[in-house]
Amino acid sequence: MDKIDEMLLEKVSDLHKISLGAFNIRKNGQVLDRKNTKEIEIVPKKNKNGIDIIVQPNVKNKAVHIPVIITVGGLNDLVYNDFYIGENADVVIVAGCGIHNNTDETSTHNGIHSFHLAKNSHVKYIERHVGEGTGKGGKILNPITKIYQKENSSMEIETLQLGGVTSSVRKTFAKLAENANLHIQENILTTENQTATTLFKVNLVGKKSKVEVVSHSVAKDNSYQEFKSNLIGANECFGHVECDGILLNNARIISIPMIDAKDSESSLVHEAAIGKIAGDELIKLMTLGLNQEEAENMIIKGFLMG
């Protein structure tokens, strides 16, 4: 592992000091390192690229890290990772992909993840995406996340993509059983000519199931972001989508809401607000001594990292 590997790992997964629990590090399409524990087993798939991550029932306060790093150009990586979370388990999963591309050839990572949460389990899933490097080659990330939550399970997702990624298409599908709870926080920054597309489709099948999606987008320069959400209420349930976007320069953000209340007891809400940085926020920070650029950067940092 060289310095670039270590730096990418730190950015996507805090895995610069490997003294943690189970992990699987994938570099340039190959497994770099892997560790199983008694409670969390990582099994390579036999018929395709990827791993099964099996968390035993009742495992509490454990973490599993599965970062992917790409340090070459011209790679098109496709990987299938399936998570099986046992009953009553409570774990943190840190994933994400860092591409450091110094070439003029595009590298792409397509991570297809499925989560199977058994009854009463809880998962906190942190996904970070980083693109960097001096080459003209694209850094493309297209994650697909499929979530199947059984009764009383809960899942929190934090997605962070702070610039550098040329293009990303992020798709998330979820199906929630009775009393299942899903919370998604997505924070995305695009700059230059980057594009980022997000699609959420959540099927609230179970009684008293609940989903909350909060999206914070900052689009600078000529970048483009598109946010599509589709909540389907098929029972007595609650769904809330909040899409806030900050636009700078010539950037564009589109928010396309869809809420489908199939059941008269379903309650679904979509809120969207896109615009420049609020003038009163800038003025307030300037009265505290920040100039306009410093104030803008502080507001964006708080908005994305707060």
Partner: protein, 239 residues
Amino acid sequence: MLEIKNLSFDVVDDNNEKDILKDVNLKFEDGKIYVITGPNGSGKSTLVKIIMGIVKASSGKILLNGEDITSKQIYERARLGIGYAFQQPVTFKGLKVKDLLNISSGKNNDFNSLCDYLSMVGLCAKDYINRPLDDKLSGGELKRIELAMVLSRKAKLNIFDEPEAGIDLWSFDNLTNIFKNLKDTTTIIVSHQAKILEIADVVILLKNGRVEKVGKYKELKPLIQTRTCGKLRGVNGQD
């Protein structure tokens, strides 16, 4: 010392030019408490916004310790030592109370320092420092944090635009004590509140955008009551 010379501010309303402030001349000496009062629409908030640079004057000059700051931007005035507490505190999406106190004080504070700032306004740091400064906080909480931010700057000249508004569950004595304890600083407060007027070294009464009278509160009290049509809060048994 802050000096305001021949300051005017006018706006065009329905094709008619309207004077919001007209030929205002004032001197604010170091170490004194000034309270600007007057009826609604008399130009009080506009005047302090012009001092901070939030609103640009149509004509006139502002001098801070002899330096002409009329064309300086908001942040430049802040760096020269002017603090400003908003009448309506600004909220943010994401920035936390501790972030804003770190910005306002110009340093990364430890818990004890943050506790010092917040306890000045009657808040317990552990309940607030990691909370976003957003509209989930009550109006009174936001107002107190606004005060804490300004106090943490330790500016030489502080402006408070109606600081009493929203301080519902906190005693006025605490609020007035804060102003009285601001040693070696110039304090400019916009207020209708009698208890705040009582602590002023100098009261400035504005009417229709002009300075009508400058003097001690006791001398101006009857005139203030007339001008505010008895709306002066805390007077005649109110509040």
